[in-house]
């Protein structure tokens, strides 16, 4: 009896928190039929916003995957970094988890905004950071930075450095050793980290809103467009874009489950 109650309660919470909102979004997206959904999604501002989100996701993911792997390698393997420095850097990696994205965005505005010394200098050189794409990419990078590092570091620690040393003893230099020995062991963790990064890029709101200024046809992303549509009571269109984003994320998470099973195999 008690057990049934608990199961029922769990299903209820799961449904209220996850399932019903998705159904509501789908219903909302289609309340003017397929054409309503399609119109909401193919408005010029929606297309532009989705494009912006796409660009940010691609750039942030590529940069994060590359530097995430590099930083993990240094933090785990480098002997020339002091142990105390490593520990400090290791805890700094988690900073974006601890700091609200809005504050992260604010830090970028305060550091690189048009009124600051650095931002002003770059502005005079014709490079806008804040209220432009570069700032939005930086904000997204800030938010997603730990994701790859936190996936890759434990695996590097677990496999240890002996396989790499064995490769060195057989004549392999750093590059060959990385691609033939280290990479095959960490690749599924990198994939896992990349998927998490993409999903987070698609959904990022706070940091990007602060940095972008949410300028229509310029710095508006898919999430900030949904926000604006809701403000304007344009609910069908908001739901359409939201549904597209949710579908993208769900597909990614399914892919991630598959990647996770691969990670366990190798």
């Amino acid at each position: 009896m008690m057990r049934r109650l608990w199961i029922g309660l769990t299903v209820l919470v799961f449904g209220l928190l996850l399932v019903i909102p998705v159904i509501r979004i789908a219903q909302g997206a289609f309340d003017a039929g397929w054409s309503g959904f399609w119109r909401g999604l193919t408005r010029p501002e929606a297309l532009h916003a989705l494009l912006m989100t796409g660009i940010i996701a691609v750039v942030a993911t590529v940069v994060n995957a590359f530097f995430g792997v590099m930083l993990s390698l240094y933090l785990v393997r480098a002997t020339w970094l002091g142990r105390r420095l490593k520990r400090l850097m290791n805890s700094l990696v988690d900073l974006p988890f601890a700091v609200s994205p809005v504050i992260g965005g604010l830090m970028i505005v305060l550091l690189l905004g048009p009124d600051t010394a650095l931002g002003g200098l770059l502005g005079r050189a014709g490079i806008d950071i804040v209220y432009a794409l570069p700032g939005m990419v930086i904000a997204t990078l800030f938010v997603t930075f730990p994701l790859v590092v936190r996936e890759v570091m434990p695996v590097l620690q677990e496999i240890g450095s002996q396989q790499e040393e064995a490769a060195h003893m057989m004549g392999a230099y750093a590059w060959t050793t990385f691609w033939r020995v280290t990479w095959p062991s960490i690749r599924w963790s990198v994939v896992y980290g990349v998927v998490l990064t993409v999903a987070r890029c698609l959904g990022e709101f706070g940091a990007v809103l602060v940095v972008s200024g949410n300028i229509l046809f310029k710095t508006q992303t898919a999430t900030t467009l949904v926000y604006q549509d809701v403000e304007n009571f344009n609910l069908t269109a908001a739901n359409a874009v939201a549904l597209a984003l949710a579908a993208g994320s769900v597909l990614l998470l399914l892919f991630m489950e598959w990647a996770k099973s691969r990670k366990e195999v190798h």
Binding site: E165, A166, H168, M170, G171, P184
Partner: protein, 354 residues
């Protein structure tokens, strides 16, 4: 390869791992680095390999200083303690790795891999992955992989530590045979003295970063040069008051001298078992333990406790029995010196010829 090491020093932080170690190794020898864990054996091996940089000292191969040569260029095969096999590669791919890196032609690689698979008895396992192999097989893959690029020196870090006791014995003699056949200079690290004595041509005893003694196993057993070596090799009991034992009264000449006595230096038995009773002490059996092929006897002579073995063929002793104990020799040491002394009373001072 002829290996020479001069004045090697290595510190990790404030911990002095290796202290002023010098030695040389002739071509084709199999050397065991023996000592307690954390004594610096592995650090010496890793510096030879180039995986650690010495703080001071020279490493010379074939008369050429190699300190500044990276591990990739030293031409050394290294077998790691846990084998460090590439777990995403098959046995054949693991063995071929070093050859591919060195850009050998494909046909030659294939032939060399086949040769090593044959040599190490891994035929039929070429396309298995490391996790599908037993411990002994993994060890042989690691060995084949290290040998593939035809190194001049083979280094093995605790090669048998991760293998269960029975297979360890087989692998030891297999390795000894293999290295004899290939004639490759080899150095292995171990903390197991039986392993070192059984396998090595020469043993180097390493303790607290220092090289205590280098020599053949028999030399080290027979003539230990430091109290540490004497205590580390074989079994032994330390006797503080050695002068009180019959036959060793002369040791009073050197105050502060202690004696180290091995079980095999001692005979224990009933009165009629000794032709020369004057050299024996009288004692009492404290415990006896059956050790499979012999008795382990604990005997007390006054306050001195000694341990020895006794053949199963002889009369069985019982706890509490009064016995005679003959101590053939003792290894004596004090703060300045150490030497072996024979029992002075063993030679009959007044032989009676009939």
């Amino acid at each position: 390869m002829h290996v020479e090491v001069r004045g090697l020093n290595k510190k990790f932080g404030t911990f002095q791992a290796v202290k002023d170690v010098s030695f040389h190794i002739a071509k084709g020898q199999l050397i065991g680095l023996l000592g307690p864990s954390g004594g610096g054996k592995t650090s010496i091996l890793r510096m030879l390999a180039g995986l650690e940089t010495p703080d001071e000292g020279d490493i010379v191969f074939h008369g050429q200083r190699v300190n500044d040569l990276p591990p990739q260029e030293r031409g050394i095969g290294f077998v790691f303690q846990n084998y460090a096999l590439f777990k995403h590669m098959t046995v054949a791919e693991n063995i071929a790795f070093g050859l591919e890196v060195k850009k050998w032609p494909k046909a030659k690689i294939k032939a060399r891999v086949a040769e090593l698979v044959e040599l190490t008895g891994l035929k039929g396992f070429e396309s298995r992955y490391p996790h599908q192999l037993s411990g002994g097989q993994r060890q042989r893959v690691a060995f084949a992989r290290a040998l593939a690029p035809e190194p001049q020196l083979l280094l093995l870090d605790e090669p048998f530590a991760a293998i269960d006791a029975k297979i360890r014995h087989e692998l030891r003699s297999w390795l000894r045979e293999m290295i004899d056949r290939l004639g490759i200079t080899s150095i292995f690290v171990t903390h197991d003295q039986d392993e070192a004595i059984e396998v090595a041509d020469e043993i180097m005893i390493i303790n607290q970063g220092r090289l205590e003694q280098k020599g053949s196993p028999w030399e080290i057993y027979k003539d230990p040069q430091t109290p540490f070596v004497a205590g580390f090799i074989g079994e032994s009991t330390i006797v503080e008051d050695i002068a009180s034992l019959r036959g060793f009264a002369d040791t009073l000449t050197w105050p502060g001298t202690k004696g180290l006595i091995r079980p095999e230096y001692i005979e224990v038995g009933k009165e009629h078992e000794f032709p020369l009773l004057s050299a024996t002490e009288t004692g009492r059996v404290k415990h006896i333990h059956f050790r499979g092929s012999e008795w382990l006897v604990e005997v007390e002579i006054g306050a001195i406790k000694l341990v020895t073995y006794r053949s199963l063929e002889k009369e069985v002793l019982h706890p509490g029995d009064a016995v005679h104990v003959l101590v053939h020799r003792a290894y004596l040491f004090n703060d300045n010196d150490s030497w072996v002394m024979e029992n002075k009373l063993k030679e009959d001072p007044m032989p009676v010829h009939i």
